[in-house]
C-alpha cells in the first residue's frame, strides 16, 4: 500500500503540483530563509505530502468514498466520449478539448493506480479521436457536408417540412413528413447511374403439368353409359320376372278360353287355324300364339285337322267326350312341325284377309281393340 502511495505520485502529477505557486506565507518564510533552509523545507514538504498520501492510501472510509467518486466520474467521462464519438469528430466542435480539460481536472484528485489506470484508458480514447480528427484535416477530400446532403436527398424525395414532427431523436434529425413514395422517387433516378444487367425471367413462367381436361371428359362418358346401363337393367328385370313358366301356362289357358268362347258362339263352324293364331300386327306374337296353341294340342284340349280345302282348322275338345279312338290316337300319334317366316306370314294375311288378331295380346288388349277399330 505504501508503494501505491508513491506510485500515485506520477511525474506529471508531481510536475503539476510543483507548478502550483506556493502559499504566500510559505513564500515569505522561504524568502527569508537561506537556500539550504529552503531546500530542506521543500524536502520536508515532499516527505510530508508522501506521508499524507500514505495515510490516504491506507483507506479511510472517506477516502474510499472519494476514490469511488473519482472512478465513477472517469467512467462517465469515458462513456460520454465513446458515445458521442462522431459529434467529437466534427471539426466544428470543441468537445474533445473540453473532455480533455475535464479529465485533467479529475486527475488532480487521483492518488492511486486504480484511478490512474482509468485516466490512461481515457487518454487512449482521446488520442484516437484526436488522430482521426487530424486525418480528416489532412484528407484530400474537399469538405463534404453529409448533413446538407441528407437534407437535399429528403427534399428530392418530396419531404413536407411544414408539418413538424416531435420526435425523441436528437436535434440532428430534421422535422418533416416523408411521403410513402419517397424511396420510389430515388429509385427511379438510381438506375441511370448503374450499368446493371436486367434480370432474366421466363415470360410464361415455369413449366407446369397439363390440366386434367381429357380425363374429365372420359369420366363423364363412362358415367353416362353406366347410367344408361342401369336404366336398362330394371326394364329387363321386369320382363324377366314375368316370363315364367306360370306365365306360359296362364297364356295357354287364356287362349283356350278364347277358343272355347268363339266355339260356343258358333258351335258348328270350325275356326281356321290361320285366322286364329295369326296376329296381323306382330309377327312375333303370331309365333307365340302358335307356340301356345301347340300346348293345347299336346294336352289334348284342342285339335287341328284339315278341312275339305285342305286348310288347317282348329277346334276345342270337350273333356266330357268319351274320345273316339281314332281321334285320340290320331292326336297322340301325329306330330306336325310348322315353319313360318315373315314372308309367308304376310302372304297369309293377304290371302285370308286377316284384319285383326283373334288372340288378343296379353298387355295391350284394350289398346289393340281400339287400334283395330
Amino acid at each position: 500500500m505504501s508503494h501505491a502511495g508513491t506510485s500515485g505520485e506520477s511525474p506529471p502529477a508531481a510536475r503539476r503540483r510543483r507548478a502550483r505557486p506556493p502559499q504566500p506565507q510559505e513564500r515569505a518564510a522561504r524568502e527569508e530563509a537561506a537556500e539550504a533552509a529552503h531546500e530542506e523545507a521543500a524536502e520536508e514538504e515532499a516527505a510530508g505530502e508522501r506521508l499524507r498520501q500514505l495515510s490516504i492510501g491506507d483507506g479511510d472510509d472517506d477516502d474510499r468514498e472519494h476514490n469511488r467518486m473519482i472512478r465513477s466520474q472517469y467512467r462517465e467521462l469515458i462513456s460520454t466520449v465513446q458515445q458521442n464519438r462522431e459529434a467529437m469528430l466534427n471539426s466544428k466542435s470543441n468537445r474533445l478539448t473540453e473532455a480533455l480539460e475535464e479529465a485533467n481536472r479529475l486527475f488532480d484528485g487521483v492518488c492511486r493506480a486504480r484511478e490512474a489506470a482509468l485516466d490512461a484508458h481515457f487518454l487512449v480514447i482521446a488520442s484516437n479521436i484526436g488522430k482521426e480528427k487530424a486525418s480528416e484535416l489532412h484528407s484530400e477530400m474537399s469538405a463534404f457536408d453529409s448533413t446538407a446532403f441528407a437534407e437535399d436527398l429528403l427534399t428530392f424525395m418530396g419531404i413536407n417540412r411544414t408539418e413538424v414532427e416531435e420526435t425523441d431523436e436528437s436535434e440532428d434529425i430534421p422535422g418533416g413528413f416523408l411521403p410513402t413514395g419517397a424511396w420510389q422517387t430515388i429509385g427511379e433516378e438510381a438506375p441511370k447511374y448503374f450499368r446493371r444487367a436486367p434480370t432474366f425471367h421466363y415470360m410464361m413462367g415455369s413449366f407446369k403439368s397439363e390440366p386434367p381436361v381429357p380425363k374429365q371428359r372420359i369420366e363423364r362418358q363412362r358415367k353416362a353409359s353406366r347410367r344408361k346401363a342401369e336404366r336398362a337393367m330394371p326394364a329387363q328385370l321386369k320382363k324377366m320376372e314375368e316370363s315364367h313358366q306360370e306365365a306360359t301356362e296362364k297364356e295357354v289357358e287364356r287362349i283356350l278360353r278364347i277358343l272355347q268362347t268363339h266355339f260356343e258362339d258358333d258351335p258348328n263352324t270350325p275356326i281356321s287355324f290361320f285366322d286364329f293364331v295369326i296376329d296381323p300386327n306382330s309377327f312375333a306374337r303370331t309365333v307365340e300364339n302358335v307356340f301356345h296353341v301347340s300346348f293345347l294340342t299336346r294336352d289334348g284340349l284342342a285339335k287341328i285337322k284339315l278341312d275339305e280345302d285342305e286348310l288347317p282348322i282348329i277346334e276345342p275338345i270337350k273333356p266330357s267326350e268319351g274320345g273316339e279312338e281314332e281321334d285320340s290316337r290320331a292326336g297322340a300319334r301325329n306330330q306336325v312341325v310348322i315353319s313360318l317366316n315373315q314372308k309367308e306370314w304376310k302372304e297369309i294375311i293377304e290371302t285370308f284377309q286377316i284384319r285383326e288378331a283373334m288372340i288378343t295380346p296379353p298387355y295391350q288388349a284394350t289398346e289393340e281393340e281400339m287400334e283395330t277399330e
Binding site: R85, E86, S139, E140, M141, S142, F144, S146, T147, A148, F149, A150, E151, D152, L153, L154, F156, E169, D172, I173, P174, L178, T180, W183, Q184, T185, I186, G187, E188, E189, A190, P191, K192, Y193, F194, R195, R196, A197, P198, T199, F200, H201
Partner: protein, 239 residues
Amino acid sequence: MSQRKRSKGLGCSQLPDGEDDFIPTQVERRSQEQLNQKVSELVQFLLVKDQKKIPIKRADILKNIIREYKDAYSEIIKRADRTLQEVFGLQLVEIDAKRHIYILINNLPCAQGELLCRGKEQEKMGLLLVILSFIFMKGNSVKDSALWEFLHLLRVYPGKQHGVFGDVRKLVTEEFVRQKYLETTAIPLTDPPEFKYQWGPRAEKETSKKDVLNFVAKMQGKDPKFWASQYSEANKATT
C-alpha cells in the same frame, strides 16, 4: 431443338473467318456443334444465376455446365461472353481473378426513361446509390457507425424495421455485401469490433466515381467541380 438452331446460327458467325484466333488443339477434338451447345447452355445458366445478383463461381460453372469439357473451359467462356454481348448486350466480367468469380453487367449505356428493374429492386438501388455516394465523398472508406449515423438522417435505422426495406441492417451488411456492391472489413484493435465499408467490385464495374459525383451534384444543385478533390479523383479514375 430451337436452341441448337440458334447456336448453330451464332456458331457460323463465330467461326473465325480469317481471324488469327488461337484455338488450342484440345478444342479441335470436340466438334464445333458440341462446343456451341455448351456455349448456349452456359449463356442460359449465367442468365438464370444472375437473377439474385449474387456473383457466379467458376466451380459452379464447371460442375453444372462444362463437366467433361473442362479442357475447353476458357474457349467456352470466351464464346459465351461474345454471345452475351452480341445477343443480349450484357458482359461477363471476372471480378475476382484469384477465386474466379463472375458477374453480368449491362454493356449498353444507361438509357433514360427505361424501366429495366421495378419496384422493390429500384428502391434498393436508390438506397445503394445513396450509400455509395456517401462512401465516395467521405474518402472511399467509412466506419459503420458513421454510415448508420448518416442513414439516421434519412429515417433509416439499423435496429428498427423499415417500411420499405424491412431489416435494413441485414440488407446493407448481408445482401449488398453478398452481391459485392459493398465490401466490409474489420478495423483492427477495436473493441467492440468495428467495421469499415468500401465500394465492392460489382459497384466498381457497374458504376463509376464520376457518375456518383454527378448524382451528388444533381441532388445538391451544385456543379461537380465544387468538390475539387473528389472531382479530380473521379476524372482520374475514368482514364
